[in-house]
Symmetry: C2
Subunit: 422 residues, 2 copies
């Protein structure tokens, strides 16, 4: 236990040291490192696959599901994808060093802000080894040192990938310790990392709800996270019902296992008569199970069995082909339901009424609020961030998809010519 703590603290100290150097590195230098990393991943793909094999054999022995084993597998295609990801991040504009809002004060001091790295980012993740490359690339590009703690089931793969990334840094003349991998399966390492306040600036957990919860509870370091995505699509009385059908169906069924899938559909009572039979038939034909309020059950397609939705349903992120539906009496009623049950990820209104759209945008307190678009668009790539570290449902620092900007902060800079306070 003591040994693990010492090991983690050593890693964190080295990261802090490396972060200082990386913060001052030029964009060109960081991009060079990312390019070298991408090339090395391809060059050494045989080594990667050999290490990955060790994880795969252990996974089979430990009885992981075939879906889990699939996610673990490093094929040439997956490796090429990682390399592409690194190159895409290299191609993004460097967020660091941007100076904004530089304005003169009456005493002629020029005061503005400079975008700078956060410092040291700790990433705790599960399963897919490609997260190692993706997450590290975003950190390096934004000038942060990163400490990676992957799941034990991918230990050999993650270690091999991290070693290549560190090599890339070193080949580009940057400190290797800017990408470090905590190489132990001892879970105490996570606990130790979450207490390294002196050296680590932010923790980003990526994985299932259990992992996120544990990190939230144990971390004394600020955490950027989202716990779950209970996203709502509200069909207003002034909705174009064909559009509403498309958006509701796409929000739920385009991909069901993701955080931006719609989990609850709210339908204004004035259109429930017409809309509910249409949407429930469509969903049911695609194999979607429906749970609804009393009115939903009355108005759904005749041949469809709709279970009574419980309070628990409104609180549930199904992550599969199940949708809860509720008829609401008004826009306020819909927003009250969202206020009560939403996880503050993404909410959608479908309406042709301008004032109601604006009210929804203004008053709904979620990280993404949309008018007439599928909840599935809530995503860093779709938003044009070029990359995504995850999605934040918190309010402080960064909300919604987290790209490079979310990994930086703004410090004040003051340029004077000898001014003193009188």
């Amino acid at each position: 236990m003591r040994d693990i703590e010492t090991m983690v603290e050593t890693v964190a100290k080295q990261a802090r040291q490396a972060a200082r150097t990386l913060a001052g590195a030029s964009g060109g230098n960081k991009n060079k490192a990312l390019e070298i990393m991408a090339n090395l991943l391809i060059e050494r793909s045989a080594d990667l696959k050999r290490e990955n094999k060790i994880d795969l054999i252990a996974a089979e022995k430990n009885g992981l599901t075939s879906a889990m084993i699939d996610r673990l597998r490093l094929t040439d295609k997956v490796i090429a994808g990682m390399a592409d990801g690194l190159r895409q991040v290299a191609a993004l504009p460097d967020p660091v060093g941007e100076i904004t809002e530089m304005k003169p004060r009456p005493n002629d001091l020029k005061i503005g802000r400079m975008r700078v790295p956060l410092g040291v980012v700790g990433i705790i993740y599960e399963s897919r080894p490609n997260v190692t490359a993706d997450a590290a690339a975003l950190c390096v590009k934004s000038g942060n040192a990163v400490i990676l703690r992957g799941g034990s089931e991918a230990r050999y793969s993650n270690r091999a990938i991290a070693a290549i990334l560190a090599q890339g840094l070193s080949d580009a003349g940057l400190p290797q310790a800017a990408v470090q991998f905590i190489d132990t399966t001892d879970r105490a390492a996570v606990g130790a990392l979450l207490k390294c306040n002196e050296f680590v600036d932010v923790i980003i957990p990526r994985g299932g709800k259990g992992l996120i919860k544990r990190v939230m509870e144990d971390s004394t370091i600020p955490v950027i996270k989202h716990l779950d995505g209970i996203c709502h699509t509200y069909i207003d009385r002034y909705a174009d019902l064909q559009m509403a059908e498309n958006i509701a169906f796409n929000g739920k069924m385009h991909r069901t296992g993701v955080c931006n899938a719609t989990e609850t559909l709210l339908v204004h009572k004035a259109v429930a008569n017409e809309f509910l039979p249409r949407i429930t038939n469509l969903l049911s034909d695609s194999g979607c199970e429906i749970r609804g309020c009393e009115q939903t059950r009355d108005l759904s397609g005749a041949s469809i069995s709709v279970a009574q939705a419980t309070d628990e349903d409104w609180r549930t992120e199904y992550l599969e082909a199940i949708l809860s539906i509720k008829v609401v009496a008004s826009l306020d009623d819909a927003m009250n339901h969202i206020e009560k049950y939403s996880s503050r990820h993404t909410e959608v209104i479908v309406t042709d009424n301008h004032n109601r759209a604006m009210r929804f945008l203004r008053e709904v307190d979620s990280s993404s609020v949309m008018v007439n678009a599928s909840s599935r668009f809530s995503d860093g790539f779709e938003y044009g961030l070029g990359a995504e570290m995850g999605i934040s449902t918190d309010k402080l620092h960064v909300r919604g998809p987290v790209g490079l900007e979310g990994l930086t902060s703004l410090k004040y800079i003051v340029m004077g010519e000898g001014q003193v306070r009188g």
Copy 2:
């Protein structure tokens, strides 16, 4: 204990409810409330002074120092100052609802961000009752509900001020519960507030280091704070020494008891011979005690007694007329010292060399970094924020002086015309 928890939770729940209404309130309506509050403070100044008297009598009985009693006292002038403060906040632009960066994506979705209130702000403060009005005004203007927990020594004064503020809200048609005061001297109330994660979005402590530390340790809610201000002024080898003298002297002596006062002076060895006798004589003549490194002691004015600075000195926020001085061998040496000992509040370089100024701005990791200006300028009013809730030395969310913007966050808004993901 249970009762206190229930009471605090009730307050927090009401605040959350009020926050929803306030978030949707127009700027005009919020300003009207602030104007009414200002008028009421003046109108009821006799009541305020009567309540204040109860606190003053208790303070004398409890043996508070005369400085503390002075800070506690509500005179007509102090009350007029509070009213002016409210009017100044009313005159600031409304930060809420601003939509920025709205850009079309290739699928013609328009994606941008809207500035919105954080929700519920908990403020825990000591002594000066005018904080009650100042802090509440910033929260109301930024659309946040506020829960105030002042020190027990100002209980009657704070309660009376908070009641007037709540009255102002109500007279303007806004929910009274948007400004609430926790009316108990039981310290358990603070503990309970710090655990109200479900209803409170951010905690802002204002007061001594003991208070801030306690809040940091006990809060499960994000905290915006600064712990201390160990600010450095570095005199580079290329400094204009007259300018350096003005800035160093002003940074230390303009006001010694404040967080942006310079506590450590770093002097490049190439100018130490010339600069140290000048600055130490000047400081000493003004009654400033000096503690220095070996070289500083050798080079200080002959008649000045300079104690040997210890490691503890470099870590100390004196908050009085004491300055520690160290001679450094290089710019890097200066930045290393800052990295090791700074509290990340404010650091200053005095130099005529452009490249060294830019390196210092880029590489020093503090909330404010300055070239050729006194550290005393690190302040929301001096920065033109129009108001200040405090100063953050944290990196996430908000760094440096916290004005209205720091009390808001950006959510993504997406405007579509029926787009779905393909």
